[in-house]
């Protein structure tokens, strides 16, 4: 058993005390903090887009049902038509893009994660290793929504960066442990080793 004095001396001597690591499977520790590859990111993005798509479909279904409340149709009437009760395709696409943009922006600006990122154990960080601010997240979200093929650059990038990452100086890293980024360092528990890296 380590005494508290030994523990403090270890911490003060610069020994990193990272209590997130034991919560991970032992074979997953080695790549935590590395930039994620194409497949994980694509799957995460797919999960996010699917969720947004389902939300759009749900919205349409709710609107369709509400339309019968607002404009009920008598049985046998010939006036009813599905086209009149649903918004146009362009509006639905714009709504879907806006929803996706807002969803990614909120996720990345608050925790650095969306649900897809959470499932795949990913986190978006800026060049300082923190989650992006609102402007950065909004910009990246828009960039990703309107140019999804930028993700393909991860395949050929030497540092697993998408076009969005290269332009906006962001990274997507493996981070399986859900926590508050920077909390350990602010509490003085984890040694500030990456100051030079920023």
């Amino acid at each position: 058993m380590t005494s508290f004095r030994e523990y403090r001396e270890t911490v003060e001597a610069g020994g990193a005390v990272d209590r997130e690591m034991p919560a991970l499977p032992s074979d997953a520790i080695v790549f935590q903090g590395d930039r994620a590859g194409f497949v994980s990111r694509a799957v995460a993005a797919g999960i996010d887009v699917t969720l947004v798509f389902l939300t759009v479909l749900g919205t349409i279904a709710v609107l369709w049902m509400l339309s019968f409340v607002v404009n009920p149709t008598a049985p046998g009437s010939t006036v009813s038509s599905t086209e009149n009760r649903l918004p146009g395709l362009a509006i639905m696409i714009i709504y879907g893009y806006a929803l996706n943009w807002a969803y990614w922006t909120i996720g990345w600006a608050t925790t650095g994660r969306t649900i897809g990122n959470l499932v795949m154990g990913l986190r978006v960080v800026n060049r300082k290793g923190q989650h992006p601010n609102w402007a950065g997240a909004a910009l990246r979200s828009a960039f990703c929504a309107f140019f999804p093929f930028g993700l393909l650059w991860v395949i050929v990038s030497r540092s697993n960066r998408s076009v969005q990452d290269v332009v906006l100086r962001t990274s997507v890293v493996y981070d399986w442990v859900v926590g508050i980024p920077g909390m350990g360092r602010r509490a003085g528990i984890i040694k500030d080793q990456d100051a030079a890296a920023t």
């Binding site: 403090r8 690591m21 930039r35 499932v119 697993n160 493996y174 990456d194």
Partner: protein, 221 residues
């Protein structure tokens, strides 16, 4: 009275009374003189002893009385004229005295016997003590010692958690496979630099830092 001798002849022993006369005057004078001298010597000795004791008593009593009166006055006058503290500090080896005293005392037992530690603790400013206690490292120490993360993991990881871990591992494996294939297709020989800034610290970056290597941690454009 008659008795037989060795040769058989009778021997006659005749006793007659002593014929001592009156003492000689010179002897009488001598005896009287000796007795007088002895009595005089004894008397003189006794007198001298008595006088000596009397004088000693009188002198001692009077001197003591005089000293009892004089010494306090003289001592007060001396003390008023000199700074005893300075004298002690300059002339006395205080360190030696204190060390000697401490060596001969068992301070711990004295404190335990004579000091009410509970009363001292009751009066102590505990907040000031707590302010000096490194709470966060202490909490970290406790968390590490009881291995709280492992307890949480054991108590919360269920089938869903394991399934998610499996999915993530498969994703990582697929990432590495795709990267390897792409690098091979692009005829790259060096491994990708995937260390990113921030937490969690990449194990590769930590190893590089521990080894003092200057490998690029972040591949910032």
């Amino acid at each position: 009275m008659s008795v037989d001798g060795p040769d058989g002849r009778e021997v006659v022993l005749v006793t007659r009374p002593s014929t001592a006369g009156p003492p000689h005057p010179i002897d009488t004078l001598r005896d009287v003189f000796a007795s007088s001298v002895g009595a005089a010597a004894y008397t003189a000795t006794t007198l001298v002893s008595l006088v000596e004791q009397t004088v000693t008593y009188a002198v001692t009593t009077s001197v003591n009385a005089a000293l009892d009166r004089l010494v306090p006055v003289i001592a007060d006058a001396i003390i008023e004229r000199i700074d005893l503290t300075d004298v002690v500090i300059e002339q006395v080896d205080l360190h030696r005295i204190v060390t000697s005293a401490l060596d001969s005392l068992d301070l711990t037992s004295i404190v335990l016997d004579r000091v009410d530690i509970n009363a001292i603790v009751a009066e102590a400013d505990i907040d000031a003590v707590i302010d000096r206690v490194p709470i966060v490292p202490l909490a970290g120490y406790v968390i590490d010692e009881i291995d709280l993360p492992q307890i949480i993991r054991d108590s919360t990881s269920g089938i869903a958690g394991e399934a998610m871990d499996t999915l993530r591992k498969q994703g990582v494996g697929a990432d590495q496979l795709v990267s390897r294939l792409a690098d091979r297709a692009l005829l790259r020989r060096r491994a990708r630099k995937v260390d990113a800034p921030g937490e969690p610290e990449s194990l590769k970056a930590r190893m590089a830092a521990d080894l003092g290597g200057s490998d690029e941690v972040g591949d910032q454009p």
